[in-house]
């Protein structure tokens, strides 16, 4: 028997699976039930997010797994396979099917398949508020009777009906299962009956799968099931029987069996719906439609999308910037001072341990923590866009353009996110439906110039092109986009040919107000996942660079106290000078800065200031008391808040912040003269070339880590070396043209 005998009523732990269509409010329900007691991870071997959580109710512990949203339980998409596998192998005690009351017919298609699994089920009829607004009146009794499962009306975003769902789930576990079955018509039912007999004669098969469900699946020629059965004793015989049944049915019905089955399901559902739904003003022109009139319009759609993307972009850069500075200030100020004080108590103040701690560990940690405000604001913006339903419109609108360059509308989002930071952008490629699309998009993400490269542009544009800085910077961003398009086209024709992937089939959920709780959840959980993953890598690389800078090569200079030009770092950087000479900046200082940029692009500027021997900002040695430091932390915190608020109107173009100061003049002239020398007098061309190189070359360690995680090692290596090569070639061209033009 497939289902375990439900004898014990008072088991303390109940395993619950949440299933339902995407956009049916399943995640909202999950968040409302589990609150902060949830974990986000990956389904093993897949790139789909897995969420589990728990809830205490009525003295029991409910372990809830949020299955990926799916429209059916066939085996065509990753989400469906995951959902199905979970139900088959984990055998949860209860399945809670979350249905959108305003879209009942379509949602019932999945529900019916879930019920055929013979696992005890509870129906959470969600979004009742929307249904009521549309004038839909649903006969819950009749629905429950037909589906043989309790039906609980819920409004997950208002937390209505949650307790009842939990109670019903506990109750369903202990009640004897009343098997649900749908009449597929006499011909098909006859074949099902014949197959059931066969299944009963194969105990190994019968033990793994619910009998009737399996019979239907075999008739539908479910490839996944067929391959699994092949491994079971007696499985192949069953498969052959099913093949014969299908042939008989095709001859009789003159139609593919799986289409017939789908059709019968919908017929049954439609009849049920007409019994159960009353006085609905179906298919009226809704508010969503009115908004879509503009957002999906042929001419207006893309400009609207661009504006919204620009707002997202601004949020991640301007609104998070004050916090990045605050963290940086706190770490290099009070925290460093406290660390030194602590070491001083141990007498280690002057030793290399102090340097390791302050310049290595704290700087490294700062490098990681600096990402946090950026990621939080990015995930906030993304969560709002997704929750409100606008994201789907964006994909819709950009689809045509993206198709021209071999991508899909869905690719546009990760690429836009990449303008803020490449790391979440790579993770955002998970939403791609096909692996090939995911890889192609992931490879192009680094060309979207990320926020960390901006300080380099600002510095160099100010040094070499004063007065035209904005134009230069915009040009760089455009160049990144253009190169991405060309690389995408090239990849399309060579390594990543477009699969015969079908065009877009996507549901556009109705617009709605984003849910604060789910946004907060998404922001936090995703940032945490990033930190756990990238932190170690960045920390490690920071310490390696510190080490290289600390080891002296000459006889003079001791460990951690050498002038930088005598360190191993300088030696290593000198090794890349010959490669950089044709590009106009063949100096160990520049090379060293670029190498350090492999750790994080922000580091390029600080390394430049280190290698050119000028201190950018004194770390405030004159530290006062502990209290003074605390006060400093708090006042700078308040300043950051004020700056954030000032930045908000900046998003719509009202600039209230002061202009950023130009870099310290000492550094500027040092860089200028160095570039002047290394390029044979063409400083501006070399400066531009340097910026182009920074734009295009290998991204930072965190991005590489994300690429390895999402795309796999092979493609990551391609990205690494490919970008280096492209960067070199394009920079060479830029420099040579610059020399020739500048005269």
């Amino acid at each position: 028997m497939f289902t375990a005998d439900m004898i014990s009523i008072d088991r303390a732990t109940v395993s619950v699976a949440l299933a339902g269509n995407p956009n049916a409010g399943k995640s909202t329900l999950f968040n409302a039930l589990t609150g902060s007691r949830q974990q986000v991870g990956n389904w093993p071997g897949k790139t789909v997010e897995k969420k589990t959580g728990e809830l205490s109710h009525d003295g029991r512990r409910l372990m809830i797994t949020d299955l990926p949203g799916a429209y059916s339980l066939s085996a065509y998409t990753q989400e469906e396979i995951i959902a199905r596998d979970f139900l088959l192998t984990e055998r949860p005690d209860v399945v809670v099917a979350v249905l959108d009351a305003a879209n009942l017919e379509r949602n019932l298609y999945l529900a019916v398949q879930l019920l055929e699994f013979e696992t005890p089920a509870v129906i959470a009829l969600n979004m009742m508020d929307v249904a009521r607004r549309q004038g839909l009146d649903i006969d819950l009794h009749e629905l429950s009777r037909a589906l043989r499962a309790p039906v609980i009306p819920t409004v997950a975003r208002n937390e209505e009906g949650l307790r009842e769902v939990a109670s019903a789930a506990i109750g369903a576990m202990s009640e004897p299962t009343r098997p649900f079955s749908l009449d597929y018509g006499p011909e098909i039912e006859a074949e099902i009956a014949a197959l059931l007999v066969e299944i009963e004669h194969s105990p190994s098969v019968a033990g793994h799968y619910p009998a009737r469900w399996l019979a239907v699946r075999l008739l539908e020629e479910d490839r996944d099931i067929i391959s699994r059965l092949a491994r079971l004793f007696g499985g192949m015989a069953l498969v052959e029987r099913a093949e014969e049944s299908r042939a008989r049915l095709f001859a009789t019905l003159n139609e593919d069996v799986d289409l017939m089955i789908a059709d019968r399901r919908y017929t049954w559902i439609h009849q049920l719906a007409s019994r159960v739904l009353r006085s609905g003003r179906e298919d009226q022109v809704s508010l969503s439609d009115r908004i879509d009139y503009f957002t999906t319009d042929r001419r207006l759609g893309i400009p609207i999308f661009m504006i919204i993307m620009w707002v997202v972009f601004k949020i991640t850069t301007d609104v998070s910037a004050p916090w990045v500075d605050w963290i940086d200030g706190v770490l290099s100020g009070p925290i460093s001072r406290w660390a030194l004080a602590a070491l001083g108590a141990l007498g280690l103040e002057q030793s290399w341990v102090a340097s390791l701690l302050v310049d290595g560990v704290i700087a490294g940690v700062g490098g990681v923590l600096a990402f946090v405000p950026v990621l939080l604001s990015l995930y906030f913006a993304l969560a709002v866009m997704e929750d409100s339903g606008y994201m789907a419109r964006g994909a819709f609108v950009m689809d045509r353009l993206m198709n021209r360059i071999g991508l899909h509308g869905r690719s546009f989002l990760p690429l836009m996110v990449g303008f803020g930071c490449s790391v979440p952008a790579i993770y955002a490629t998970r939403t791609m439906t096909s692996r090939r699309d995911q890889i192609l998009t992931g490879l192009l993400v680094p060309f979207m110039s990320c926020g960390a490269r901006l300080p380099v542009y600002v510095l160099f544009a100010a040094i070499f092109f004063p007065g035209q800085a904005t134009l230069i910077i915009m040009g760089l961003y455009l160049l990144g986009i253009v190169v991405a398009i060309l690389v995408g086209l090239a990849l399309q024709r060579t390594l990543l040919p477009a699969t015969a992937a079908p065009g877009m089939v996507m549901e556009l959920p109705p617009y709605r107000l984003p849910n604060a709780r789910s946004i907060r959840n998404q922001m936090w959980l995703r940032t945490r996942a990033f930190l756990q993953h990238a932190a170690s890598l960045i920390l490690l690389s920071s310490m390696v660079i510190w080490l290289l800078m600390a080891i002296p090569t000459g006889r003079q200079g001791e460990f951690a106290a050498t002038p930088i030009e005598d360190s191993v770092f300088a030696r290593v950087s000198a090794a890349v000078v010959p490669i950089l000479s044709p590009l106009g900046f063949g100096t160990w200082e520049s090379g060293g800065a670029l190498i350090s940029g492999l750790v994080a692009k922000e580091v390029v500027v600080s390394t430049l200031s280190q290698t050119f021997g000028t201190e950018m900002e004194a770390a405030g040695i004159a530290g006062g008391s502990f209290l003074a430091d605390l006060r400093e932390i708090i006042t700078s915190f308040m300043a950051a808040v004020v700056d954030t608020l000032r930045a908000l109107p900046g998003i719509i173009g009202i600039n209230l912040t002061g202009e950023d100061n130009v870099a310290a003049p000492g550094l500027a002239s040092a860089i200028h003269s160095s570039f002047h020398a290394s390029s044979g007098g063409h400083a501006a061309a070399a400066g531009l070339a340097f910026m182009v190189f920074v734009l295009l070359y290998t991204p930072c360690m965190a991005t590489i880590a994300a690429e390895k995680h999402e795309l796999g090692t092979r493609w990551t290596l391609l990205s690494l070396f490919g970008q280096l090569t492209i960067a070199w070639l394009v920079t060479y061209v830029v420099f040579q043209i610059g020399v020739w033009w500048g005269g």
Binding site: N103, Y109, L508, I737, G742
Partner: protein
């Protein structure tokens, strides 16, 4: 007089953009619909490909001439033969349809392969002017 290097940047970007645009907007071959027996029969029966339906047009889906793996995606979303649908938006690229109460976006290549029977002549819907 602007720094020549500025001109250089502009020239490079413009050059690249031209190349990219040219590559991207290459004229495709005329899209000839396969005129086979089956589709000839459809046309005779008064059916049309979905792409021929203007905005606000009501139609009944009759036939899905698509691959197996795609057909399931469509079925799952409610697009079964005999289903009523309405064209909400036709942006030249993908089409937006109202099916069984929800909104579904379909790529144009797919929309070309769905044959429908237009049942209600275009009428003005509340609030939305005619295409």
């Amino acid at each position: 007089m602007m720094n020549p290097v500025i001109w250089l940047t502009v020239a490079i970007v413009a050059g690249f953009s031209l190349v990219a645009t040219a590559a991207v907007t290459r004229k495709r071959g005329a899209n000839s619909r396969p005129v086979c027996e089956e589709t000839a029969g459809f046309i005779a029966a008064g059916w049309r490909p979905l792409v021929d339906c203007p905005r606000n047009c009501d139609a009944c889906l009759r036939c899905l001439r698509v691959d197996r793996c795609v057909v399931h995606r469509l079925l799952e979303l409610g697009l079964t033969p005999g289903t009523e649908l309405r064209v909400v938006q036709d942006a030249g690229g993908p089409m937006l349809l109202s099916v069984r109460g929800s909104r579904v976006a379909l790529g144009r290549d797919l929309a070309e392969k769905l044959w429908v029977e237009i049942n209600v002549p275009e009428s003005t819907r509340e609030g939305l002017p005619l295409a």
